[in-house]
Amino acid sequence: MTLDLSLLPDGGLHWLTASGEHAGIVLSSRIRLARNLAGYAFPPRAREGERLRVLHQLREAAGRVRSLRDAAFVRVDECTPQERLLLHERHLVSRELAGLDQPAGTAPGGGAVFVTGEAGVMVNEEDHLRLQVFRSGFDVTGALRDAAQLDRELGAEVPYAWHQEFGFLTACPTNTGTGMRASVLIHLPGLVLTQEIGKVLQGLQHMGLTYRGLYGEGSDVLGNFFQISNQTTLGRGEEELADQLVRVVRRVIEREEEARRVLLRDAGYIIEDKLWRAYGTLRHARTLPADEAMNLLSGVRLAAGLNLFSGLSVYTLNKLLIFSQSAHLAQAAGRVLTEGEANLARAKYVRTVLASEAQLSG
């Protein structure tokens, strides 16, 4: 099977459009709901045949679900390792479902994903179903509204595993209850540079929130991108959990903006020099390792936020972030790339995109 992502609605990347509130700082908002089908063992325990029956039942039901009628359907377990990495880089498939940590690059059997413009449904991940809704910018409430709709429609077609007291039942008890993880992907270079970030992250934990890196659980914090989400899923309603996240993130955004103002005022030329150097490297380097590219892009994103550059859109910066990653470069090249080749291809891609944007003036 050849995976053609251009067939997916918006390439599954609608959330990159930078259309939402605070899109410069908050890249995207996401709601994830974990659900299981009654009558089957959870995927980690289920035999392959059982996982395939779950997949079959869901595929049939999806045709009757309005939100999923036009969704593209991808059998992740039939994709090559390269294609699975590509889906993961687009945030369409988790590390676990992509089988990235498995020996010999095998993916769990019966793994699949439905993708629509802003929503996706992972099948046979840790739970039978992981419903996801993405929104561009800071729009947790909008994402929650759409996720609730998708959940209602799908839940009317397949019976969920449900308990009167515990709520929605999940393989891992840390998700039991609402099964909901509400999160924002947020860029906090100002707080990192002013060394305020430690206090902010500690504060999150007191507010029932937690943080991870760009690619969720187990991923490193790269390029000052953080994923902030609710920690607990039981004992409070979905709206209440989402409201708490929104309230705290609003405060984090204020602190980030404050830190940026202070940096510019008290260390203006140092910051300006640093950011222009980052731009210069991206604009002219001939080889770019992934981590370096991520950090430099973080700098340029900050510069755009501080209005040091004009003519560089947040959309372009978002696009660079995803399309400069290894599997995307390999897809563009039409073949598997070695690390060295990927570094060359990355530098070339970034140079081309930046050159095509309007001439910057500083």
């Binding site: 089957y40 393989a171 609402t178 500690q202 004992g235 309603g237 202070v262 008290d266």
Partner: protein
Amino acid sequence: MVCDQCKERDAVVHLTQIVENAVSQVHLCEQCAAARGIETTVAEPKHPLGDFLQAVQQQAAQLPGDAARCAYCGTSLRDFRASGRLGCAHCYGAFEQSLRELLRRVHGSTRHEGWRYASADPEAVTREQTLHTLREQLQQAVADEAFELAASLRDQIRGLE
């Protein structure tokens, strides 16, 4: 560099503060920093599963039910302890006592307060509700040592499952 506060020990914490839009640097020794409630490292995100599994372990040490298995999928409490994953929806019933304690530790509650599920299959919901009631009665019967009643309740539960 000496500590700004005690002026005795070496400063090891260098803090950049923003107060009313002005940046200031404070240099403190470990003791004075601690006295001000400043942690010297960024705390790792606290993963609830660690505490959680530890709690299962403690629970299992007290209960002889370590080898207890879910009748539906065969997962034992020991398997759960090793993987952190339950095998199926019925495990919630099979390990209810342990889980209740653990859910409270992880989430601070055992009661779902969110959306209620209106099932695709109303019969299944009724069945689940009946099962829930029967399981509660069974627990009570065991606690009361009413073993005949317990046996009959257990048979009813098995029938419905």
